[in-house]
Symmetry: D2
Subunit: 441 residues, 4 copies
């Protein structure tokens, strides 16, 4: 049926990917290599090794990697440099982990001489796209097996039956019906989809949330923190230097404690449907706020606006699985270039779900110049008269336009004003601007 | 000195514009018309009339208008249709009021036969630009007097001396040094600038805030509200239909009670400097959240993304004073067109500074289709196999690109990888994609 | 095999779609309705009727429509309002015809109670996408049959064999090997792909071109024409009012005569590959030039720039088949809104492949104001001193930035300048701008 | 009157800047340093030295520099990497020279210890902005003298009188009324403005053009050339390697001979007015065409589209004088990054005003893959069935949307269709897509 000899499976150790492991052996008759990553999801990985061994995987074919530092340093932080949010709200916690998994899958393909990869993402979601676009971009000839698009085990019942009849151990939780949600976790976030959430009008149950307390249960006293940034990346908390993943882990702890980073969203999937997701991104929510704050005093206005204009496009690229595309890399080049001067520190107040910026400082790189902005006498630092010319020239095209409209006005006078429009007073045809008063006859 | 006969002054009744009123009479020797607007700033306007009369303004030359409904209906709501925020955070409370004042000034110019307008905005800020661009766009031949760019009363002391020597009444608060902040208020927000805030590293004092309690002092119990939207605009709260300004006023009350809508920001002014501002926008903060939520189930993905891509530009136009420009109007046409289906209701939870979306519903206009998005068996509503082709074609250009890179790889092998880059595994030159395996020799 | 009862086939009367017609009858056993459109491709359509009858189609199931006026009025002209070109060069001649065909197919589906459409586009091209996205957008439940993605008649030989064995008449030209090119024609253009063109380094043969003479063979004497525009659409040539399709037909004639509108291009298809195409778009090339010229004197600068910024996106939407999408319609709303004042006339010189703008005029709508732009004394229409303030404020943020860089300079002095960069002279740290000279200590 | 001790004057040696030189000495009583650049404008520069000496400038204060190579290498070529045109047509010949002059002025300021620069650009044009923004960005504390904004010599007559009364030599051409045009020339182009051109409806006179013959007078025989590109820049013509400015000079010669690169335009100036300009850019026109052609086979689709989306913004930055701004540099970083693979050669045919691409080739970097794009049987390189899934998922959101519209249709049936709109057939409410057929009841 197939010319696939060896496949690298993204293996979590859970029920679904264990069934896939067995199904691959049975259906493709090929050697299976498992890859399990520690991305900070908070689960032990050694049970995955034991399970893989039990399911017949050779020891040399079991790869278990701690990717936490690489994940935060090379994926999360570069993304945050752009103040990235998808559709105005989503911090892309799942999206940004997939390209790293794709990269590592291909590295293992290259190392083991495999010819295919396999993942457990469904055919309805974004993750299949992210895994596969990444894999194809990094190794164009690789083959992809996506069981959920191939097999007929489409209900939980069929899956459980398959597991039982093939000797795959089933946890108690699955026997009881499993978690009511489809979840994904890594150092940046934990997400929830499915079941009760499939009605977008229904409030998420409090018991669903795992990483954060509710704002109601958060401490009654606020906590202040300082985040130090170097070239756009956080490098220290409260003066203490830490590695990227340590910083994110600490901020997750602080954010979780203060009820920060919950999000309840209906988002647009790349495959064309809307879906409702709930997310907890405590540390990321703090970092997003902090990064904007340090940029606010160190970034030139037009550079900041250029970044803001490009951000939604950059966010969509990541959401849609194009991390390894040349256009994402081109945008990253621009974004990274802008972070040269993004150095300094931000003071934040954490309180019951709120992340409040209370101060920002940059000794070397601040562009905030109080001698100019002051409401007091500035002793000549800024000549207010300059503003007159600034306004006059910026207005010129509109004045010429208004004169044109005034000339035409009598002819259009009969027209009814459009509904729902803030109607402006008619430009008086009799007092044209000096600027445009002597038109050619 | 001047050929100005009659000038319409934007008159608040406060010290600054009273001094300007007198200064206009003395310097230009012209008739002064005063215009005072109720934009919901929460101050009585009759004292302004009394003061104007006392300063010698004829009764027929005193215009006091209640513009609250027009303000919210024709300016605030159209702006919110675009989910507008400037520089990622600022809800444009001051910016959006200026074009209405400019419009009304010109209407009064036309009515009274005046030839100039005058305002009390400084030469360092954005408001002068907003007033004047608006005025020039609506009446290209109008003249503008901007005393702060012309006179030498640049310190508070000189201003007070001028007032005293010209018989202008001075409030006790000014005698004591006045408010420590430069403030602006209307139904959408109240803003604070200057003094203590001129150090961006210093936390704003709690006593500064006026419209909102601190999250700490907000009620310990959350409050749920329903906002009903029609064509993108809120039309009812908790099932009760209200006029636009009534809705905003009620949401201000609710938001203020729950500590919602405070913002502490360093922003980039159009005139080229950074400045620090603090804002309270309780109702607007709730509306922004609600509008995104109702759009999330009623707006097509690509339309939503188009709006997101254009929003920063639209926000800058408003911030910079281009409300009456043809490009803002062109964008508005697009934005308004997209709101046709934005109907339905949103349920929000207000709690100690948080506005939390807990549900959204649209009987007629929802694009959320649970039969497609479900994680359960969907009985064929969506064919998962389609995703394979979708991914394959989206990957094609990247696979061809990776093959190209693999062909070139040996020649660039010596190159060191660039710093600060998530390095991808090398595309294996020996296993090119089938898709590109038979290149012309 | 299928639950399809009746299918509407986009039928040209040529060999390919005749084979498809037969194949549909054999494979699906369903009733076939044929639809043949006159889009100005320059072929007689009655032979298609005869052929369809001969192949067993009922007379009432044969639809032959003259869509020329609708095509130009509702598709070509709206597209030209945006100065639309794909990838900097392609005038979208094929792309813009497909949504009209999709619309008419669905109208016939609705009229005849059919449940499916069928087209003869290959699985490698853009046209399949354009037909099907259009059909799905207009009738989401319609079924689509795309024989080239289903059958095994993938070589010309197999196709000919099928035709012969099923009694489908074969033209002499096909027996001789057929045209060396895959072609598509309508009132806007004729296109050529395939065969000799598949080598992008090889020059197209002169004999390929059909609608235009070569510039070498064009008349030695230039011809001048005037195009009159109303709301952005051409309405008269040389003072003579004509219908949209008559205008385009006349311009095709004039352009073809003068060797205008040839294009040789490698373009990026939506399905992920590059392909080489040659196009003749004589009238369209003239219209594009003319439209930009009339806009140049009637459109506000920022509106023009907004249109230019959005154009590539709008062009991609049309190229990719999203004419009937909500985002294209939203953009169209904006584009149409901007054309209100695009009235006037343009004078063009046609000569051996060149379309040269030699004059533009708009009595009512011109924004060109010679009293301001003149190099002569303008008697005060424009105050040159205003420019000083304009520049000063626009420079302010860059001066503050340069001061920042100067402060930091000693520390980065050791850094080597990046290669391939126009290196600026170092900002002298000792002469900071007055504007920023008194920084906080 | 002034605290300016030494000023560096951008000195052409012509009448205007000679008058300025004298006026500076008289008005400011300061030492004048002259700077004259060879940018390939085609004039001898030694007469400028002689004239400066005669006007009393010290020999050590006369700077005459050959900047041709730097101009083309560091300014023109980087700009062409982006396929830059302003407002769809203008190749920015003047705009791109100004930042280099600003840079050199500041270098000389630093070298001579001057405190100001002076230029001869008028207060109505873009050049003043370009000179001054560049100067301020590179040396924020520099002072700027712009005589045309300060003095009262606003007519040609006054200028001539001043020259005569101050012993400044006047050429015969000026005595006869001078050139009828305001001109600017460098290696990239020569421009014409003013006089006869101030009526946008009037055709430019044939005698105006200087660098190109008319297409009518160009050779009757076409000429073919090959341009070789490396990383996006042209490096050889017809196989012969040349320096950047040599390449542009040769292409100017070839283009001029064949009547290539004339442009007659109404453009929007940054200062707010429209102006009519005529340009000859023979070599640049060839390079623009060539660069797009080599990119067409070497650049990824999405990277090319990203560049196209950003190009108008990049062009405006250059046109408006922001070459030395941080946002232009950020964009340049992205643009340069994309040129890594833009290697290969382009074959062009030059004939009577036409630049025709006839072939493009890239041994190493081509992304054109004929095995995929072919109309012939491709032996499995591309699976046409993939296209079905690709289309289905791309259509999904539109089908869901059409179903929504169909549900609502009865209620809106009474609405009249909007004018000027390509009306789509009504989505049949009775045949919803399978995809969306089981909505929640």
């Amino acid at each position: 049926m197939s010319d696939i000899k060896k496949v690298v499976l993204a293996y979590s150790g859970g029920l679904d990917t264990s069934v896939i492991l067995k199904w691959l052996q049975d259906t493709y008759g090929c050697e299976v290599v498992t890859f399990t990553a520690d991305l900070g999801q908070g689960e032990e990985l050694e049970p995955a090794r034991a399970k893989a061994l039990k399911l017949g995987i050779k020891a040399k074919n079991i790869f278990i990697d701690d990717l936490r530092e690489e994940f935060v340093r090379d994926f999360v932080f570069p993304m945050f440099r752009a103040n990235t949010v998808y559709e105005g709200e989503y911090l892309l916690g799942t999206s940004i982990a997939r390209p790293l998994i794709a990269k590592r899958l291909i590295e293992i393909v290259n190392k083991t001489g495999a010819d295919a990869i396999c993942h457990g993402a469904t055919g309805k979601g974004n993750d299949q796209v992210r895994f596969e676009l990444g894999a194809y971009a990094l190794k164009p000839g690789v083959k992809v097996i996506a069981p959920w698009r191939e097999w007929d085990l489409l209900s939980r019942e069929k899956l459980m039956n398959y597991a039982e009849s093939h000797g795959i151990p089933i946890d108690m939780k699955h026997k009881k019906g499993g978690s009511p949600y489809s979840m994904d976790a890594n150092l940046l976030h934990i997400s929830f989809e499915g079941r009760h959430l499939e009605d977008p009008a229904a409030e998420a149950e409090e018991s669903m949330w795992r990483w954060t307390v509710s704002p109601e249960k958060a401490p009654n006293k606020a906590e202040y923190i300082d985040i130090q940034y170097a070239k756009g990346d956080p490098v220290a908390i409260n003066g203490k230097k830490m590695k990227p993943h340590e910083i994110l882990a600490l901020l997750n702890e602080l954010g979780g404690k203060h009820g920060i980073g919950r999000l309840d969203l209906v988002e647009n999937r790349y495959v064309g449907m809307k879906s409702r997701g709930c997310y907890e991104t405590p540390g990321g929510t703090i970092l997003l706020k902090g990064h904007r704050a340090i940029e606010s005093i160190t970034l030139d206005r037009e550079v900041a606006h250029l970044k803001d204009d490009l951000m939604p496009r950059y966010a969509s690229l990541i959401y849609n699985g194009y991390w390894w595309s040349p256009e994402r890399q081109a945008l990253q080049t621009l974004i990274d270039h802008t972070q040269e001067h993004v150095n300094g520190s931000v003071r934040l107040k954490l309180y019951k779900g709120n992340v409040i910026v209370v101060g920002r400082d940059s000794k070397q790189d601040s562009l905030f110049d109080p001698t100019i902005a002051t409401f007091e006498d500035d002793a000549g630092a800024y000549d207010q008269k300059d503003a007159g010319g600034f306004i006059k020239l910026n207005a010129l095209r509109m004045r010429i336009g208004a004169n044109r409209d005034a000339r035409k006005a009598p002819k259009v006078a009969a027209k009814k004003p459009a509904a729902k429009k803030a109607v402006a007073p008619k430009a008086a045809a009799k007092t044209p601007a000096k600027a445009a008063s002597r038109k050619k006859a």
